[in-house]
């Protein structure tokens, strides 16, 4: 259905693409109009700064950091079994993502809130406990993975003999 005999996208797909693009452009236009209507002029620089900042942060810093970590991870793959590396990378990713979401809460708690029912929990302590839990679970996973790796290597050695 999706690819015609000559290998080019079918009419249905092309039609859908057309409508999606029309809808998309209309929505973009609506967004732009809403902006001009509702957001006061003096706030524009702030918005542009945030949009630009998002690109710089994501592409300039985030992408580079991820690239760097990936490369280092690949290089150390010589010495450490690959699966262990994957587990550790996953644990780090989980810790980083949760930190990104919780860190502003910690900062804002220090700054202070309008009343004590806003941000009432001890976010820093909870985050530290979370790290500890992740570390323990990662260690367990690594041990299990190593056991499996060693067992399969032994099985291979036995069957190969």
């Amino acid at each position: 259905m999706d690819v015609a005999d000559d290998g080019r996208p079918s009419e249905a797909i092309t039609l859908w693409r057309g409508w999606l693009i029309v809808a998309g452009v209309l929505l973009l236009g609506l967004g732009g109009l809403t902006f001009l209507n509702d957001v006061s002029f003096d706030q524009y620089p702030g918005v542009v700064l945030w949009l630009g900042g998002a690109i710089i942060l994501h592409d300039g810093i985030g992408a580079m950091a991820v690239f760097g970590v990936t490369v280092i991870a690949r290089r150390t793959g010589r010495v450490i079994p690959f699966v262990v590396l994957a587990i550790i990378q996953a644990a780090l990713a989980i810790a980083v993502i949760v930190t990104v979401v919780v860190a502003p809460e910690i900062v804002k708690s220090w700054i202070g809130t309008a009343n004590p029912t806003i941000l009432p929990l001890d976010y820093l302590s909870n985050l530290v406990v979370f790290y500890a839990v992740v570390a323990v679970l990662t260690a367990v996973a690594v041990v299990v993975a190593l056991i499996v790796v060693v067992a399969s290597r032994r099985a291979k050695a036995v069957s190969g003999a």
Binding site: M1, D2, V3, P9, I13, G18, L20, I21, G24, V25, L26, L28, L30, G31, G32, T34, F35, D38, V39, Q43, G46, L49, W50, L51, G52, A54, I55, H58, A63, V66, T70, R74, R75, G77, F82, V83, A86, I87, Q89, A90, A91, A93, I94, I97, V98, V100, V101, V102, P104, E105, K108, A114, N115, P116, T117, I118, L119, L121, Y123, F130
Partner: protein, 406 residues
């Protein structure tokens, strides 16, 4: 593909629940809203914030999986290519900003964005969904081709190529060396890339590729699951025991209920506690004035209703007070009349609000005087506040001063 589907679904959930929230606060005159189930807004707004939180691991995962395309060479191949990359830049930027200001708003961390949250979040939502539609349009052949897993990979697990990929990896080094006669691993950059290339990413049929891919999805799934599980308790009571990261916690606050705007912040500490406080109910020329004792003497009704904040948190509470419709009937309000509600609160866009007839006429909509068996705490709207089903917290007006039938 997996991430694209999930992220697309999450974005659409956020968009639809967000528009619903917007319309409740800013309805067109012809709109009518359901007043049941009474937890309706609690669920839609809880979903809005929880999906938004879940988007963080999903979007990081998605951007991680596509980030090699950032380094396409040449950066712009044609006008169409430029437009495509431009819309993606807009999509990424607006999505990241939308999620971030949304999250920061639930923390009430307003200081770091120098613009009005409500208006920018609303306007950006169209930009995000519009860019999503264009993105899907551009990628549609890829999406339909790889929609089902068995169409997407061959027996070895290698992803089937849709069309010759102009950015496919080819043996750059040897090609360039052949054409220019210069060794490509000279110089610092050359040596760094040589070092990187000596350990290339595992591709199928290398079995490590599967570990790598599974590890990646596991990481995203665990991160998402952990974030949702450890925060959704602010909206969904069943998860309250493990709520450790949400900006609000059930049962924390005066009378066991969290507070958003305090009396002090609203500037009503004098006016709300004044001994001559009265509630004025008008319908054109007809006026009735009630003091606290008069209201307490009227037939009281109980309602178990949630406070569901626009910031996502919600909690049920037991309210007791006079039915709103009983009060407006005393000034002969027509059946389909709306009511303009005025608070003692100054300098707030919610100081004066309008309530549509379907809510006015609902038997559970109260002018509440008591919360959990006691008179309202000052921070919860003493002497009297509105409480209605299926409505956002900002419209459950506190520190009532006047009700006008319109």
């Amino acid at each position: 593909m997996v991430l694209g589907r999930l992220l697309g679904a999450a974005f659409l959930i956020c968009f639809s629940t967000g528009i619903y929230s917007h319309l409740l606060q800013d309805p067109a005159p012809w709109m009518q809203f359901p007043t049941r189930p009474l937890w309706l807004y609690q669920v839609t707004q809880g979903l809005h914030i929880t999906s938004g939180i879940a988007c963080f691991p999903l979007i990081f995962g998605k951007l991680y999986s596509v980030f090699p395309e950032l380094f396409q060479s040449p950066p712009v191949r044609s006008i169409a290519h430029f437009v495509e990359r431009g819309t993606i830049a807009l999509f990424v930027a607006s999505s990241l900003v939308q999620l971030t200001i949304g999250l920061l708003n639930t923390y009430q961390f307003y200081a770091i964005f120098p613009f009005s949250f409500r208006h920018v979040h609303f306007a950006l939502s169209f930009i995000v969904i519009g860019s999503l539609a264009i993105h899907i349009a551009v990628k549609l052949p890829v999406i339909t081709r790889y929609w089902r897993k068995r169409d997407a990979v061959d027996a070895d697990g290698r992803v089937l190529e849709l069309e010759p990929n102009p950015d496919a990896r080819f043996d750059t080094r040897d090609e360039l060396r052949r054409r220019t006669g210069l060794p490509q691993n000279a110089g610092i950059t050359g040596r760094v890339f040589e070092w990187i290339d000596r350990a290339p990413a595992p591709d199928p049929p290398d079995p490590r590729a599967r570990v790598s891919r599974r590890g990646f999805f596991a990481a995203i799934a665990v991160a998402g699951g952990a974030l949702v599980a450890l925060t959704a308790g602010q909206s969904f009571r069943v998860l309250d025991p493990i709520n450790v990261f949400a900006p609000r916690k059930n049962d924390v606050g005066p009378q066991g209920l969290p507070v958003n705007r305090t009396a002090k912040a609203a500037g009503v500490t004098e006016t709300a506690t004044a001994s001559d406080w009265t509630l004025t109910v008008t319908n054109g020329e007809a006026t009735r004035v009630f003091d606290y004792a008069a209201l307490s003497a009227m037939p009281q009704h109980d309602a178990l209703l949630p406070i569901a904040c626009v910031e996502g948190w919600s909690q049920y509470a037991n309210w007791r007070g006079v039915r709103l419709r009983d009060l407006v009937d005393l000034v002969d309000a027509p059946e389909l009349a709306s009511v303009r509600i005025t608070s003692l609160q100054q300098h707030s866009i919610y100081g004066v609000t309008e309530m549509q007839p379907e809510f006015v006429r609902d038997e559970l909509t109260l002018v509440a005087l008591r919360l959990e068996g006691e008179p309202l705490d000052l921070d919860h709207g003493y002497p009297a506040r509105i409480i209605a089903p299926a409505r956002p917290g900002v419209l459950q007006t506190k520190w009532l001063s006047k009700l006008e039938v319109i």
